[in-house]
């Protein structure tokens, strides 16, 4: 009996993240299937964001507000109600506790800390919901980090909170759940021009920026170079989280990459539309340029829409194609890290594959499994596509938001300003970001001009 308990419990953090993450994805799919609509189940017009799922009522996040923070807790009808938000916090606490149980840590010791973490994550959501903050793309991870940094550095981490600080576990679990949103079929959404714009430029910029940081700028941390390159070339915060976890970036490196990405995203979101108009570019070409270069998805849509509806559609779709590359890129980074970067030349000799497998972050397999299963289901037909869309947009998106938000609060709590200072003082990460983004801007404009403006000329003709 003891041996059985030993096998079941005491799971490695990665495996616990995979078990809980895949369990939540399966639960979302099962409940959404059970509640499938009786009629028009395959109609995208009827269900633009997929089938409605009953689980949507069990998780909510604070909304947008202008003057009174209490408005963040109002529903769309204007009624004050904290039910779904409290349930979202409840899910988060349950996942922290489940992680502790699977990892053979004391559940009782974790519980008070998990409740406080959920409260701090809620505060971060409220701060990010203020309309100026929200509509200028200063996303919740920034405020979660800020809240954690402030509390950790100004007040300190109380001893009773320490057992609940499982930031990496929460982010890994969030990433496994996030896998359900990374659909391979989205890669082909814009046909050849979109594929060329996203697929040629993104890997080239990613690899060139990483090599530039490591070999030319001689930044000591390869993980920082990779995380910065990925968040700048792929899709901002979500790519930074996925690749940062795949290459085991330190928490202060991930914090820095996210801060830089959000800072430059705001500038580019405001500056690119007038620059495109001033250059006299066709809006569709401009939309493709915006979609390929601005880091954050929401900021891409905001900048694209200010050029016009069609530009907004092209920008959003190009960004969605880049979004869908996260799975492949995180997998490739994890393989490269395990097989080459972390390989000890003086260590015992084994096959490359064997050594890579030993160091490979297992949670990436859960992320890929969720992505491949949901991609396969999504490709089966219109009904299955709406099933997957409903399960993700109605439930898992918000739940993984809570997990990421709380994970970043934990990271902030465990980060000292003193650890961050050397990265900021050297200024080299900022130079690397700027160098990579310049290459990204030039290359994306060249390829978008080639594909949308010349090879596929009809796309920009009325």
């Amino acid at each position: 009996m003891k041996a059985v308990r030993q096998r079941i419990f005491g799971l490695h953090e990665d495996l616990a993240a995979v078990v809980i993450g895949l369990g939540i994805v399966l639960l979302a799919l099962a409940v959404t299937w059970q509640a499938r609509p009786a009629s028009d189940a395959g109609s995208r017009e009827r269900h633009p964001k997929g089938w409605p799922t009953p689980l949507a009522a069990t998780v909510g996040t604070p909304g947008a507000w202008a003057e009174a923070p209490l408005d963040a807790f109002r529903d769309k009808q204007g009624n004050l109600g904290v039910g779904p938000i409290a349930l979202g916090m409840g899910w988060m606490v349950a996942i922290v506790v489940a992680g502790a149980a699977l990892g053979r840590r004391s559940v009782r010791a974790c519980l008070p800390g998990a409740i406080l973490l959920a409260g701090l994550a809620c505060l971060a959501y409220v701060l990010s919901g203020q309309k100026v903050i929200k509509y200028y793309n200063l996303e919740y991870p920034l405020w979660a980090l800020a809240v954690g940094l402030f509390v950790g550095n100004a007040v300190g981490v109380p001893r009773w909170l320490a057992p609940a600080l499982a930031g990496e576990f929460l982010i890994k679990t969030g990433l496994v759940i996030f896998g359900a949103e990374v659909l391979v079929s989205r890669l082909l959404a814009l046909g050849l021009p979109g594929l060329m714009t996203a697929w040629i430029v993104t890997p080239v910029v990613l690899v060139a920026t990483y090599l530039f940081g490591v070999h030319v700028m001689r930044i000591p941390s390869r993980a920082l170079c990779m995380t910065l390159s990925a968040d700048m070339s792929v899709c901002g915060v979500s790519a930074a989280i996925a690749t940062g976890a795949a290459c085991r970036a330190k928490k202060e490196e991930l914090s820095l990459a996210i801060g830089l990405s959000l800072f430059f995203t705001v500038i580019m979101m405001v500056a690119m539309p007038p620059v495109i108009r001033w250059m006299g570019l066709d809006p569709i070409l401009g939309g493709a340029w915006i979609g390929g270069t601005i880091d954050a998805t929401g900021a891409v849509v905001a900048a694209g829409e200010s050029l016009g509806k069609q530009a907004g559609e092209v920008a959003a779709t190009v960004k969605m194609i880049q979004n869908s590359m996260i799975g492949l890129i995180a997998f490739a980074v994890a393989v490269y890290w395990a097989g080459w970067v972390e390989r000890d030349p003086a260590g015992p000799r084994g096959t490359l594959a064997g050594e890579a497998w030993r160091r490979f972050p297992r949670f990436i397999l859960g992320f890929l499994a969720a992505s491949l299963v949901c991609s396969w289901l999504h490709a089966l037909g219109p009904e299955q596509a709406l099933w997957v869309d409903g399960a993700t947009t109605g439930f898992t998106v918000k739940l993984r938001g809570w997990l990421f938000c709380t994970g970043f609060v934990c990271m902030g709590l465990q980060t000292s300003f003193r650890e961050l200072a050397p990265y900021l003082a050297s200024g080299r990460p900022v130079v690397l970001y700027l160098a990579g983004q310049t290459l990204n801007l030039v290359l994306t404009l060249a390829v978008a001009s080639l594909t949308f403006g010349w090879l596929f000329q009809k796309a920009v003709e009325p």
Partner: protein, 77 residues
């Protein structure tokens, strides 16, 4: 000494909370009435755009391939 450091921590917490309240409840709401900011927020709300979306699944409308594009794309001019 412990009492002193506890008081200092409490003071920092109160000061931080006061600054946060002043910025989020005073400065930022005032910034919303600044014309360019107000215009940007209004435009985004009218078009149902959430610029804070981290991933395409968080957008108000899922981006779908624009139907008009297929008719206008050719492999060669």
């Amino acid at each position: 000494m412990t009492l002193w450091s506890d008081r200092l921590a409490a003071l920092r917490l109160v000061a931080g909370a006061a600054i946060m309240s002043a910025v989020w409840c005073g400065l930022l709401p005032r910034l919303l009435s600044f014309a360019p900011v107000a215009r940007h927020v209004r435009l985004m709300e009218e078009r149902g755009v959430d610029p804070a979306a981290m991933y395409y699944t968080e957008l108000e409308r899922l981006p779908l391939p624009p139907p008009w594009l297929a008719d206008r794309v050719v492999l060669w001019p």
